[in-house]
């Protein structure tokens, strides 16, 4: 922890605020998992943690370690991009699996004409 003593106070303050924002958003997202009722509503809750919850934590980390000069910032950026790119895929698959197995609660208007398997590529 000693190397944190050499951190500039302004940077430390910004990083602390960012960390608090990120942690708060993530906690609220997880609280949403408990408070919201249906599966589809719960799908929305983790997006808080994976969007700015992750982003502000990453920015804080990048700020601290690049101002301490111990390593480059790009490391964090790669992590952030990975989280932001993979999260929609997971949620899309979860949502799709849920509503296809749950015909009783399927949306009245939004049902695709036929279930799709092979023809996922849009027909030109």
């Amino acid at each position: 922890m000693t190397h944190l003593d050499s951190l500039h106070p302004a940077i430390a303050l910004i990083a602390a605020v960012l960390l608090i924002i990120g942690a708060t958003l993530t906690v609220i997202g997880n609280l949403g998992l408990v408070r919201l009722r249906s599966f589809y509503e719960r799908l929305h809750a983790p997006t808080l943690g994976t969007s700015w919850g992750t982003a502000s934590t990453i920015i804080a980390s990048a700020l601290i370690f690049s101002s301490l000069g111990s390593r480059l910032v790009v490391h964090e950026l790669a992590i952030g991009v990975f989280v932001m790119v993979t999260m929609p895929i997971a949620l899309l698959l979860l949502g799709r699996a849920a509503y296809r197995r749950d015909p009783g609660k399927a949306p009245p208007s939004g049902r695709p004409a036929k279930p799709m398997r092979e023809d996922e590529q849009p027909v030109p």
Binding site: G29, L31, R35, Y40, L72, A78, P107
Partner: protein
Amino acid sequence: MSRVLPHPGLTLLLAAVWCALVGSLSANSVLFGVMLGVVIPAVVRPFWPETLVVRSFPRAAGYALLVLWDIAVSNVVVARIVLFLPRSALRPAWVTVPLDLTNAEAITVLAGTITMTPGTVTADVSADGRALLIHCLHAPDPDSVRDDIKSRYEARLKEFME
């Protein structure tokens, strides 16, 4: 060229990401990154026959900034819904967004944008690829959500990806 490297941009990106993760630019990591950049596109080629086209990089960057801002705004909105809105007042809704986009990559980016924005999740794409099915956490007016997505995101994507 295109036979060995089906996605030259992806090759560069993979090499750069590898170096970023390793955290060094030594010959060792660059070489291994380039190897990954050659092997991975060749392996995924059967699943991704087309090439990603970005016609204007400034517009793509502008789109990314817009999305980051919208995500920040809707983070606050969803946090308030979770914390303060009584469960009985919540109005979840399914919205079907008809697509003007035809490019598979552009539709993927749109679906990802919608999911990354808290409050809306893309749940399915129709069999013919002409519509997205979206679940909204709280949408008293589902039509306005659809119009918002079409004018705010799809119109912009159409400008630089089709």
